[in-house]
Amino acid sequence: MLNNRNRRHLLQRLPALAALAWAGGCARTASAQSSASVLAKPIPSSGEPMPVVGLGTWITFNVGNDRVAQDASAEVIQAFFAGGGRMVDSSPMYGSSQATVGHGLARAKPAALFSAEKVWTSSSRGDGRGPAQIEQSRKLWGVPKFDLLQVHNLLDWEVHLPTLLEMKAAGRLRYVGITTSEGRRHREIEAMLRSQPIDFVQLSYNPLDREAEQRLLPLAAERRIAVIANRPFRQGDLLQSLARHKLPAWAASELGCDGWAQLVLKFIVSHPAVTCAIPATSSVAHVRQNLGAARGPMPDTALRQKIATHIAAL
């Protein structure tokens, strides 16, 4: 969460923001804590720059009361912000992940944080479950308010979306979004992209799961809705299977990739409609490697096709 003072401070330290460097309005930004620049894209509804690699928390941050694992997660969060990251995404569905995020944020105290949370509870109009859950999540994160709240997997969205839009109108929230994963409920998502005044949509997208390219990504671009790509590595399965193969030489020479993770992430975030990807990890080395995908050259359309074809053939 950025208050106005922090945001001004951050913006003052984003020297390359003015240098829109890539594909329709991308910028290179630097976090307040690092000189390393990462590629950022503007959130369509506001123009606010968002580094193209965020941090997911599904499974990796669900460590319960294990203090050692909580501290290790805090180090991941510190490395993420030190490397120029901004968006951290979690959900009440992710077990103890929210508390782990809160533990990490209390240590890192990142000025650049963009907090992305979700509401995920069965609810009927007026029962107050959604607001109660959001307040509980806020306490666990230890932030004054969230930047983005999303209706998780569209659960009772008819109840939750009006709540979130009200919060935004009242200045208690900056952005509103919806989520899905693994290709589920795309028709409903499409209808909502057409009809609802949302800022973000979160969906699964990677070189093997490309259904969103058909309708959702073009529609999001048309409607000026930011796209967060979840499950970039298919919960690790994709990287595990790719690890058996050698990274093609062109991935290093043309894109500067030092591993499969960077190639996959570059494929995802180079889609013009995708704002950022949110790989989850419990490793400091991996979070640094993931952020590395937000640096260096990005693939053009032809190279993106080459990446997808190559990975699909393995």
Binding site: I59, T60, N62, V63, G64, G95, E182, G183, Q235
Partner: protein, 239 residues
């Protein structure tokens, strides 16, 4: 959710293998040195059950003591493991805690209600057949003596050992073993209680198998396989 068929077991897992086994590591550290005491208790119980099985008429006190001990174990695991620890990474664990508490009550009822017979002919009729006895003792021996070291074979540390009486999986197996060793039930309530006990223990074997499959654990097959062996032995003994 209208697309249930699109989900895999792993989609319902919200924790990693690392967090799961780390839970056992912390649990074991908190309980040490209870583990050797519980294992020794298990060995004594197995010895008593083996001794009783060779006598005619066979005494049933080892089975009753076994049921009582396992009732305590199921209750302990329901509270100390599922509710207090597993629930911190798995939302479903509070439900597991309830099922484990119910099983504790059922096993306690079996401990109180299990009867033998002083009449030699009737005692012979009530005695479980030899394959069921050997399967029961084998399952118990595996649960107490081998399962804690299973993790070592697949690359886990001894600190993450799952001990019968303290951890769910070997306790469920030991329970199936003991159920095979009980004298044949002669009243409807006993038969009903045993069906409940079998159902809960077998359900845990299936659930544990699904959990480990979702985590990609190499020993995924152990509980479902041994649960099937127990069920087969019980099925055979019915005839």
């Amino acid at each position: 959710m209208s697309e249930w068929w699109t989900y895999r077991p792993s989609d319902f897992l919200m924790f990693s293998a690392r967090s799961y086994y780390r839970l056992f590591e912390l649990y074991n550290a908190a309980l040490w040195p209870t583990q050797p005491v519980v294992i020794a208790l298990g060995v004594l119980l197995l010895a008593a059950l083996a001794w009783a099985g060779g006598r005619q008429p066979a005494p049933v006190w080892p089975q009753r003591v076994g049921c009582a001990l396992l009732a305590a174990a199921w209750l302990w695991i329901g509270i100390a493991y599922h509710a207090q620890r597993f629930a911190s990474i798995n939302a479903a664990a509070s439900g597991y805690a309830a099922a484990w508490t119910l099983q504790a009550v059922v096993l306690l009822a079996l401990a109180l209600g299990t009867r033998g017979s002083d009449e030699p002919g009737r005692a012979r009729m009530m005695r479980p057949d030899a394959p069921a006895r050997w399967t029961g003792l084998g399952l118990g021996a595996y649960a107490v003596g081998l399962h804690p070291f299973l993790g070592l074979w697949v690359g886990r540390s001894i600190g993450q050992a799952e001990v019968a009486g303290l951890a769910p999986d070997p306790t469920a197996l030991a329970t199936l073993g003991l159920l095979l060793l009980l004298p044949r039930a002669c009243d409807a309530l006993q038969r009903w209680l045993r069906r409940v006990a079998w159902s809960i223990a077998l359900a845990w074997c299936a659930l544990s198998g699904l959990t480990l499959a979702g985590l990609g654990a190499p020993d995924t097959w152990v509980l479902p396989a041994l649960g099937t062996v127990a069920l087969g032995a019980a099925w055979r003994a019915r005839g």
